[in-house]
């Protein structure tokens, strides 16, 4: 995909206010990503608009692809119909995410902000599926030590000093940095590359956090994430 821009996102909702509100919410963590709201009908009623969705896809497409997130069923039907009418060349780089609108939208926005490619942004959105069940698993280090011997495990324990703890923007920064390393790194046992999982840990100022990797090559990633946390994520 020869596009120079970042992957764009389109939020399709029956309500224009939900779509616009989601842009606002995701914007906190993705200040420069292309986020386009396509909510409501052309005349401002509840519903979805083929023309709005088609227009939003065109607006969001900078050549690197577009991920579309939808709320209720007919929003998906409208989005699929809009895809049918695209030129083959454009359609090839547009994906409809099978993900909850809000959670998936925020996760995808962070991924797009970080300059991830289309498949990664789609994957970030779809990682939000079953986010609720992930929350109950959060903090359980099950599976994170499997396969890694104690001798290859790198771990750092840091105390969060910034006001917001690991929430919203700091969580996004941590996930963004973690995503630059190929190795798996965990925060209190939770995948450091999953924004929703990290945010759902609910770690506040003063919390003790274990950053670890079972990967023999993971020390650098652990150190980098620990340094970011110790720096307070740039917050006072």
């Amino acid at each position: 995909m020869g596009g120079s821009g970042k992957v764009g996102l389109v939020f399709v909702s029956h309500s224009s206010r939900i779509a616009e509100g989601l842009v606002e919410l995701a914007r906190q963590m993705a200040p420069t990503a292309t986020l386009v709201a396509a909510g409501g009908t052309d005349d401002g009623r509840i519903g979805t608009s083929f023309d709005r969705v088609s227009g939003a896809i065109a607006e969001a497409d900078a050549g690197s692809g577009v991920v579309v997130l939808c709320d209720l069923g007919s929003a998906i039907l409208t989005a699929e119909t809009a895809l049918d009418f695209l030129d083959d060349e454009v359609r090839a780089r547009v994906r409809i995410a099978d993900a909850p609108l809000v959670e998936g939208g925020v996760a995808a926005a962070v991924s797009a902000e970080g300059g991830d490619d289309l498949d990664h942004v789609l994957g970030a959105a779809e990682s939000a599926r079953g986010a609720a069940s992930e929350i109950s698993d959060a903090g359980t280090p099950a599976g994170t030590t499997a396969g890694g011997s104690e001798t290859s495990r790198h771990s750092r324990t840091v105390t969060l000093i910034n006001a917001d703890g690991l929430h919203a923007r700091p969580a996004a920064e941590l996930v963004k940095l973690a995503s630059t390393f190929p190795q798996r790194v965990t925060v209190n046992g939770t995948d450091a590359k999953s924004l929703l999982a990290i945010m759902s840990l609910g770690l506040t100022k003063g919390a003790t956090v274990e950053i670890a990797s079972d990967d023999p090559e993971g020390a650098q990633a652990v150190d980098a994430l620990a340094a970011l946390a110790e720096s307070g994520f740039g917050e006072a």
Binding site: D42, G47, F50, S74, L77, T78
Partner: protein, 215 residues
Amino acid sequence: MALDITWAVDWVRRSAAVISEHRVELLTLDREIGDGDHGENMDRGFQAVLPKLDDLPAGSTPGDVLKLVATTLISTVGGAAGPLYGTAYLKGAVAAGPATSLDGAAIAALLAAARDGIVTRGKAEPGDKTMIDAWTPAVDAAEAAANDGGSAADVLAAAADAARSGAEATEPLVARKGRASYLGERSAGHRDPGAQSTALLLQAAADAANAAAGA
């Protein structure tokens, strides 16, 4: 006799009229088990098609008319009915191709393509309490009538009758697709508004064919 552009235009006009006439009925059905906008949305969509019929260029085919309906419904109907019916008319237009007149077999093929388009788009199956429960018996009846050598009007009459029975038969069903599925068991006892509008539209097609045959 085969059906031409006059029938296609008449079908659309009759569709717009019958949907307007049944607007409140469709709204009420949809309010019982859905979001209550089906009558209004369909009425807005077909009313938007009417003025465009006058702009069809000379030499237009039945397929051109169906394509016009498709793009207008997709753009003006806000609910699920827009993409679903829009896809149906679009696939019907493709099946009709550039033909200037359609015989019984061509009409049956058109209806089958429309039904297939809705299935592809909505992923509903018979028994899910959706418009598919009107379309499926309608297509079966249309194909049977065409195989028996029926005229285009015979085929549409058979389709309309079967669609009406199919819509009535949605009443006891529990919805498994669409907004009504959120209601679960409570969706039983109400006719599906999409199946009902399908029955109305196919009756309009049959009436237009009768009018053409009588002309």
